[in-house]
Each structure stands twice: as structure tokens, then as C-alpha cells.
């Protein structure tokens, strides 16, 4: 802990702890919310936490390579695609059943 290099006074573990807290808040939101749109919000928080992690590791460990940035950019794109498809599905489901409670969405159950 003493040998950790600092970035303007901030150690790497500070970023990791903040991002893991954000990830767990998003996990709670994903598991505990009753509204599908809120579940998607929790997913977005989790993806954000992952991107913070990737950028922090890029800055602290390999700032000369572009790998961290490339993977972070891919996650950005995946998040955008996921939000578009998820919200389109939600709007379609709401239109046909007038409800977006995930506990009532059991039409595909055998």
C-alpha cells in the first residue's frame, strides 16, 4: 500500500473501490427493482462501473498502449446497442400487455 504510485494524489485502489461500489449499487438495482426500465438503469450503472475500471487500469498500468481505451470504447458501443434494443422491447411489451412488471411477463413459460 505504501509503494502504490499516486496520480495527482489519488491511488489506483480509490478508483477501483468507487467503481466496485457503483457496480454493486447497479447490481442491487438490477435485482431488486420491479420496473423493467429501472432494471435497465441498473444495468447502465454496472456498465459505467466497468468502464471506469478499464480506464483506471489503462491510466495506471499501461498508458502507452491503446488496449484499455479500445475495450472501453467497445463497451460504450455495446451499452448503446443494449439500451436501444432493451427499450424497444419494453415499449413493444408495454403496448401489447399494458404492463412492464417483469414478474407478469410469463407468456413464454411452458
Amino acid at each position: 500500500m505504501n509503494a502504490t504510485p499516486l496520480l495527482n494524489g489519488i491511488p489506483l485502489w480509490a478508483f477501483i473501490v468507487v467503481s466496485s461500489m457503483l457496480f454493486c449499487i447497479g447490481l442491487y438495482g438490477t435485482l431488486a427493482r420491479k420496473n423493467t426500465v429501472a432494471i435497465l438503469m441498473g444495468l447502465e450503472l454496472m456498465l459505467n462501473a466497468v468502464i471506469i475500471n478499464l480506464v483506471a487500469f489503462w491510466r495506471f498500468i499501461a498508458p502507452n498502449s491503446s488496449s484499455g481505451l479500445a475495450f472501453a470504447a467497445f463497451i460504450f458501443v455495446v451499452a448503446a446497442a443494449e439500451a436501444a434494443v432493451g427499450l424497444a422491447l419494453i415499449i413493444n411489451i408495454y403496448r401489447s400487455t399494458q404492463s412492464i412488471d417483469p414478474e407478469k411477463l410469463d407468456q413464454m413459460k411452458l
Binding site: I10, L27, N48, A70, V78, A83, A88, L89
Partner: protein, 241 residues
């Protein structure tokens, strides 16, 4: 206590407080607005990490596109506003989230504790000769130039990043695949969310009914033509024996 450290605390508090509001609020519209605030805080963290490009991308993509999509979805599902914010398994969800956080803090956090396997009832049978050791706090391979100092980010990191994305030896294939994926996903989203006009649905239904009727007629005709043939085959089968 550098200025950056103070800013880090401020941004972290904004991110985590807004995120907590997002997952607990009863009013879904307010939680969507708080999600925007949380995204802004994350953009601030990117600035502290010397990744200004990602701060801009965060504001453009997350705040400009994803938040707007989410707010649209909230407004299009107005009937769901007064819903209970938690489902029946929220206690379990909180426990799971807390356990995951404890595990991540133990592995990735700054704390190193001395762990003696001999003091744990079952482990001391397996690891008889184990000595106490320090666990936790991964020692990341820092790219050090001298002790305690980090490498500086090259001035041309954005240009390098752009070249890496179109370099056949680096990320050209993933870049093309992800472009294809987002293309297909957006086309699929448009198709799924497309509102079909009532007239169109009536026409579709009539077409379907006509198709079913013609198929039924074909099946009946086939059965009528096949019915006299049945005794013949039976006779033919009988002759063989």
C-alpha cells in the same frame, strides 16, 4: 491533499449518491434524471484519469443518447408510474450486492490482512504445514519509471487510439464486428418498436385468414382424393401376402 483528490471525493460522492437515488427512488422520472447526474460524475472521473476523450464520449453517448432513450421509455410507459419500487426479493438482492462488494473490496481494495490457515477449523486439516500469509490487495504491475511516479500519458494518445482501431494487427476486426453489431441492433430495435397501423394489421389478418382457408381447402381436397385410394393400397398390400 491535492485539488485532484478533493475533486475525486466530490465526483465519487456525486456518482454514488445519485446511483443510490436511482435504485431506490419511487418516482421513475426522477431516477432517470439522477442517472444523468451520475453519468456526469463518471465523466468527471474520466477527466481525473487524463482520459478527456472518454469524458466527451460519456457526455455524448450516455447523456446525449442513452439517457434520452431511457427518459423516452419512462414517458411512454406512463401507466407504470405509481408502481412499488422494490420487488419481493429485494432483501436477497441487497445481501447479494453487499457480498459481491465485500469480495471485490477484499481482492481489489487496499487492505492486506494476515491470514493463518491453522486457526480455521477445517482448513487446518487440509493445509497442515501452512504458514500465516498476507492476503488481499492485488499488487498490480505498475509501469514505473522511478519509484512512486506514474508514466505520463503520451500527448498523441487519441491519435494512437484511433490508429489502433483501424490497424489490422490490433483492433480492426473487433472494430468492424462491433460496428456490424450496433448496426444490426439498431435495425432490430427499429423493427421491434415500429408501431403498426391498425389498417395494416387488419390487412395482415385478412391475408393470414385467406391463406389458412386456402390451405384448409387444399387439405380437404387432398383427403377427398386420397380416401378412395386407401382400399386399393390395402388390397395391394393383401395381395403380396
Amino acid at each position: 491533499m491535492t485539488l485532484q483528490l478533493i475533486l475525486f471525493f466530490v465526483f465519487s460522492l456525486v456518482v454514488l449518491g445519485a446511483a443510490l437515488f436511482v435504485v431506490t427512488s419511487r418516482n421513475l422520472f426522477r431516477s432517470a434524471l439522477m442517472l444523468v447526474l451520475s453519468f456526469f460524475g463518471v465523466a468527471g472521473l474520466y477527466v481525473l484519469l487524463d482520459a478527456g476523450l472518454f469524458a466527451v464520449a460519456q457526455i455524448l453517448i450516455y447523456i446525449g443518447a442513452i439517457s434520452i432513450l431511457i427518459i423516452f421509455a419512462v414517458m411512454l410507459t406512463r401507466g407504470m408510474q405509481g408502481m412499488e419500487p422494490r420487488n419481493s426479493q429485494y432483501v436477497g438482492a441487497a445481501v447479494v450486492a453487499a457480498l459481491v462488494f465485500a469480495g471485490m473490496l477484499f481482492i481489489l481494495g487496499p487492505f492486506r490482512v494476515t491470514f493463518d490457515p491453522q486457526s480455521v477449523p477445517l482448513l487446518n486439516l487440509i493445509f497442515r504445514n501452512a504458514t500465516p500469509r498476507e492476503v488481499g490487495a492485488v499488487a498490480w504491475p505498475y509501469a514505473l519509471e522511478q519509484a512512486g511516479a506514474l508514466r505520463v500519458v503520451p500527448e498523441t494518445y487519441i491519435a494512437d487510439f484511433g490508429r489502433a482501431l483501424v490497424d489490422i494487427n490490433q483492433y480492426l476486426l473487433p472494430f468492424l464486428l462491433i460496428a456490424l453489431m450496433v448496426d444490426v441492433a439498431l435495425a432490430g430495435a427499429v423493427h421491434i418498436a415500429r408501431q403498426r397501423r391498425p389498417q395494416e394489421m387488419i390487412e395482415d389478418r385478412q391475408e393470414l385468414e385467406a391463406e389458412i382457408a386456402s390451405e384448409q381447402a387444399a387439405i380437404e381436397a387432398l383427403q377427398r382424393s386420397a380416401a378412395p385410394a386407401l382400399p386399393d393400397t390395402a388390397v395391394a398390400a393383401g395381395n403380396e401376402h
